[in-house]
């Protein structure tokens, strides 16, 4: 990725963070920590890596992107809206009566491949799409973004085993690995470590990358290993970009007062 592209991704990530803070504040909703955690990854994926056209979101040869951690959907919606998948003013209707956008991601939105909200659903569906693509001889890839909590679900591991068994190398799992979940620290609840070797033992190619470094994100997803499904484990910080939210599990659910919103926006806007 050249400097210009990197800058574009960083600027988009900043916009995504601002949108998410405003959406969560206006909607009096939660999950802001989970949104900010992946706010650097989504812009790199959507502008540099996957083949998807905002003007033709159903194009047959598009890459498929499934957000399995559907509770962080506002970050995806903000990214997609900035890229022109749907009008920006829809973001104002997030979590509102008669709103266009629900708290969890919905396929009723142009460009959203699949609705999620209950964890452990994305990866099995991504496996089905990988199988169908292989059978039809299609070349597109299927990306599925999961969280720590997602990887608590048995159904995710059912899918991990199946993908490894069938060596679906058109399947890419992106792990937003912030090590926090709803009620505390993931290592204290269900410790996924050692995650990368674990996935390798299940037949996946697996690597770690800094989920807040645009170049690292790009390089990790760009260089996939053939012959196996690939997992990129992004080390991320829950609440990244807002100091009082970072690494605090209370911001899985926490709501934003007017004062906290102002404080958070100030920090995000000041960041480079």
């Amino acid at each position: 990725m050249n400097q210009k592209q990197e800058k574009k991704c960083r600027e988009l990530a900043k916009k995504v963070r601002i949108h998410c803070l405003q959406m969560v504040h206006k909607g009096k909703s939660g999950h802001i920590g989970s949104m900010l955690s992946m706010a650097d990854i989504l812009p790199v994926i959507f502008t540099q890596l996957i083949n998807i056209d905002p003007k033709h979101p159903k194009k047959e040869d598009r890459d498929r992107f499934i957000l399995s951690k559907g509770h962080g959907g506002a970050a995806l919606l903000a990214t997609m809206s900035e890229l022109g998948f749907f009008p920006m003013d829809w973001l104002d209707t997030y979590y509102q009566d008669n709103g266009k956008l629900s708290g969890h991601i919905s396929h009723h939105i142009p460009g959203v491949e699949f609705s999620t909200g209950s964890l452990g659903h994305g990866l099995p569906v991504a496996c089905g799409m990988a199988l169908a693509a292989k059978q039809a001889g299609k070349k597109h890839k299927i990306y599925c973004m999961v969280s720590d909590g997602d990887l608590n679900e048995g159904s995710s591991w059912e899918a991990i085993m199946l993908a490894g068994q069938h060596k679906w190398d058109n399947l890419v799992m992106l792990v937003d690995y912030n090590r926090l979940q709803a009620l505390g620290s993931s290592p204290d609840i269900i410790d996924l470590e050692p995650l990368a070797p674990k996935l390798e033992m299940f037949g996946w190619a697996s690597k770690e990358a800094d989920g807040h470094d645009q170049n690292a994100i790009f390089d990790a997803v760009k260089s996939l290993q053939p012959g196996k499904p690939n997992a990129i484990i992004f080390r991320t910080v829950k609440g990244k970009g807002v100091s009082f939210m970072e690494n605090n599990y209370k911001w899985h659910y926490g709501g934003l007062t007017d004062e906290l919103l102002a404080k958070a926006l100030k920090e995000v806007e000041a960041a480079q």
Binding site: S115, H121, S155
Partner: protein, 306 residues
């Protein structure tokens, strides 16, 4: 009946290259024909029904028809949230086929009895619910299901079920099929327990009590017109099903009667009581034990309040 289903499915898959079978390690002795003929459209997900249903949904989202297939509650209740959120919400072209509807796997015990499935499946938006009663219906329902674009729940029987229909049938999703004509009452039934309903109606006819006998093979959508007509043209309604009393076929018929202002019609349900079917025995024996015997149906008709 499972053999009839698999034979028809194979025929359909030979002509339609978009048909996939997505299994969870069940189907020994029945699914090999499909697996051998179309290895690239067949996948065994291992004993993992949640994943099976998610995979089927993903396959279907790509323009295919995906069949999930397993025993009793494995492809429905075990993975109910995948059925609801993935299959039904996305209106994915997934066909959920169970083998052994009701207590067909009698001696295997409660884990293998599918006795609440109709209530649960019919409560899901976008889901079509089909309950064929014999081989002819099973074959016809398979074709109807595969032509229909959207989620279908297919409650298949097990093996060697007797024929109920005596000639060619015209199966339609949302329809019903009359087996006998009569005016005293109408006996609606769904599924293979219909053989007991038929025997009961024939025994009543021998006493001069002539009842209409109708297979309600399609629980959702349901043949409202046939139900309303039965309430107007015959002296009462009995509904026979191999399913818990709550929320099944009898409930579905009662809902139509109340909605359509026909609530006055004498009405009785012949269904499994709201208990765990924990006695050990064959399907035929269990039917008699739990109030689904021929005599239970005869009694229900006779006790319709006038």
């Amino acid at each position: 009946m499972r053999k009839a289903f698999n034979q028809e499915l194979l025929k359909i898959a030979e002509k339609n290259p978009r048909v996939f079978m997505v299994l969870a390690d069940i189907g020994y002795g029945e699914i090999e024909g499909f697996a051998n003929a179309f290895p690239d459209r067949f996948i065994n997900c291992g004993v993992a029904e949640q994943n099976m249903t998610g995979v089927a949904c993903g396959v279907a989202m790509e323009g295919n028809i995906a069949i999930t297939y397993s025993i009793a509650n494995f492809p429905t209740l075990r993975c109910l949230e995948q059925v609801r959120n993935d299959v039904c919400y996305h209106n994915a072209n997934v066909k959920i086929v169970i083998i052994g509807g009701g207590v067909a796997y009698g001696e295997l015990g409660i884990s293998h009895h599918s006795t609440e499935d109709i209530a649960i499946m019919r409560a899901l938006p976008n889901m079509v619910v089909l309950v064929p009663c014999d081989m002819a219906e099973a074959r016809a329902a398979t074709h109807a299901m595969m032509v229909y674009n959207g989620p279908v729940y297919f409650r298949c029987g097990y093996k060697n079920e007797p024929d109920i229909h005596e000639g060619p049938i015209e199966f339609k999703i949302g329809g019903s099929l009359q087996v006998r004509e009569g005016k005293t009452a109408t006996v609606f039934f769904a599924g293979t327990v219909g053989i007991n309903a038929k025997r009961a109606v024939d025994a009543l006819a021998a006493e001069g009590v002539r009842c209409r006998l109708v297979s309600l093979h399609s629980i959702k959508p349901i043949d409202r017109e046939a139900i309303v007509r039965a309430s107007k043209e015959t002296g009462g309604i009995v509904v026979v099903e191999e399913h818990n009393l709550s929320g099944g076929v009898g409930s579905a018929v009662a809902e139509v009667l109340m909605d359509e202002g026909c609530g006055h019609v004498p009405f009785r349900r012949v269904a499994l009581p709201d208990v765990n079917v924990s006695k050990v025995g064959s399907q035929l024996w269990l039917r008699d034990q739990y109030g689904l015997g021929v005599n239970d149906i005869i009694e229900a008709v006779k006790r319709l309040k006038k």
